[in-house]
Symmetry: none
């Protein structure tokens, strides 16, 4: 497998660090190579081009991010618990890795439209998890059953994403995880069956 090779991971980690420290537009391939301790040309033995590095960064990092949330929520029994855990883990994971938070919330968004479409693909499994929770909540009658699932998923993701982005832009000065309660309340109220 591709990621069995240690240099592959070195380059991914170097890319995250370089982007977080220098910003997207100042992150040259040569800088990433230097940080990774390899020659510029070596990068191209592991990645097709610069775009491929960026997409791979997102794939690897968000892959783990999502997988943890999938595992964390799958053991739970109620939609409500699952939703809270999803929010809490979303916030916690980014809280615990500031570099990753900067890269995903701010820097990678400066990439061109092509990369961002690819990023959306990587996010799909996460969106499916959200969809499943919504459906489960509807089955459990804690959420309304006439919800437009796609729209609701967008609203939930948009809510979480903006809250995290604000936290990053305010330089992570306050406790993000602590906000999970209120965000959870907002969403569950928003979707609740009884007015």
């Amino acid at each position: 497998m591709r990621n069995k090779k240690p240099k592959y991971n070195q380059i991914i980690e170097a890319a995250v660090a370089v982007i977080a420290e220098n910003g997207y537009h100042a992150s040259q391939v040569s800088k990433i190579a230097k940080k990774a301790g390899v020659a510029d040309g070596t990068i191209y033995l592991y990645f097709k081009n610069k775009e491929d590095i960026l997409i791979s960064v997102f794939e690897e990092k968000m892959g783990q991010f999502i997988e943890k949330i999938v595992r964390g929520t799958s053991q739970l029994d109620s939609a409500d618990d699952k939703l809270f855990t999803l929010i809490e883990m979303h916030f916690r994971q980014l809280s615990e890795d500031h570099h990753l938070a900067i890269v995903t919330q701010l820097e990678l968004r400066q990439s061109n439209t092509k990369i961002r479409l690819k990023i959306n693909q990587v996010l799909r499994p996460y969106l499916i998890v959200i969809d499943d929770i919504i459906k489960e909540g509807a089955r459990e009658k804690v959420f309304r059953d006439n919800l437009n699932i796609q729209l609701v998923r967008q609203m939930i993701f948009g809510t979480l994403d903006e809250v995290v982005t604000n936290w990053v832009m305010k330089e992570q000065k306050y406790d993000l995880v602590q906000q999970a309660w209120e965000v959870h309340a907002f969403i569950t109220h928003g979707l609740s069956a009884n007015k």
Copy 2:
């Protein structure tokens, strides 16, 4: 009045069109000049540099966008009506100007940090409108009164923004304005006083 400077507006309109059609990174000054029907050098009689064009595009367009919403909501009496109108106008205005929607939701986000900070400044009045509606709702007892206003505002803005972005990315194939009802329901439920 602005139409005393017809070239200024020509350039702004040309910039929106060029960015929407070519993408942020492929929007050369010369392309904007050509579209505006002026010489390259003329751009620099009206704008300090390329950055200034982009910031001005946002200022002019979002300025009008926000002003209309401010006016539209100010005549209403309840927080609930105001919130619905805000959502509906937010969606309608971007629905009616696809170029602008592409530029604000996708392209301008690729800009560098300096431009994005400026963009945040321009958005501030909009965020204040949202804050005021939240406060008014709390006074009216239709919203909970222990809300963290900053957080709620982020959640509302994130919700709207993500819904619009999805609509743009799906190439505006469906009716965005129609979704205002459900988004409004989600948010008002989310903030409602009674569980």
Copy 3:
């Protein structure tokens, strides 16, 4: 006559000031126009192009410079007196007009080869004065009579010019006119008939 027009002289004077204050390369036509109190386009009613302004500056200013020296030396009877007067007046005139000294010694030399060839034409009458002094000195037997006049003239001019340039580059901190004695001694010894 061309220079009967007051604006012509305004522009010439403005050009000298602008070049002396900003340096050759930062002396845009628009800056000169502003300093002269006329519109950019007006410049072109009096001068063919920017090159013509610069050449005219040199013509006008060096024309006066040379004419004074011609008059000053013509009343004298010996080559030796004439030579001293030429040196003294050369130094004095530039000493008394620092702007002109900066422009002729430093800034105008940054102009392109075409302008500098033209400048050499303007200097020709001055070189003829030098030639005549050399010939007169030879007739008077105070200078050697087998001198290569062209070469001697170059050496004399080079000597004066470099002394003035050094004085300008050292920011006119010492008295240039005072050096006329030693320069005169150097040249007259250098040309003297008896070893």
Copy 4:
């Protein structure tokens, strides 16, 4: 050794040729690169920017020029011999490299103030050689002992420089080296102890 970096020298030589043939202002980096047989970008592996190329041209070429004169004069015993050799070598070296003569006498003088200050630094060792010869001549009693050394050095350098510049401007149509005798006579007479 410098020939370990063949590209560095290729670029220097190309720069001299391009400047001599096209003039200072028409010497684009791309032209130099083409002449040197390298890509435009390669220039920037060896030089910081265009200014750095020009300064390096002068440093390299004038460095050799001066070093040869230092070596040539150091083996001689009298100030008179040294002065003659300095003049002869000055003229001979520029005679033998017309491109270099054009570049140093005409083109590089069009450069901006920053480059010209750097050029003055490079020339300093040459001026010190002249100073030393003047002092030695004074000790030997062949030159006057009350000379203002700085002024004399300026006069000598100005003399040589103007003679060379005239030769270059007259398109090198006559023999420059042959003039060394008369220039030497002018200077030694000019400085001689006995009237």
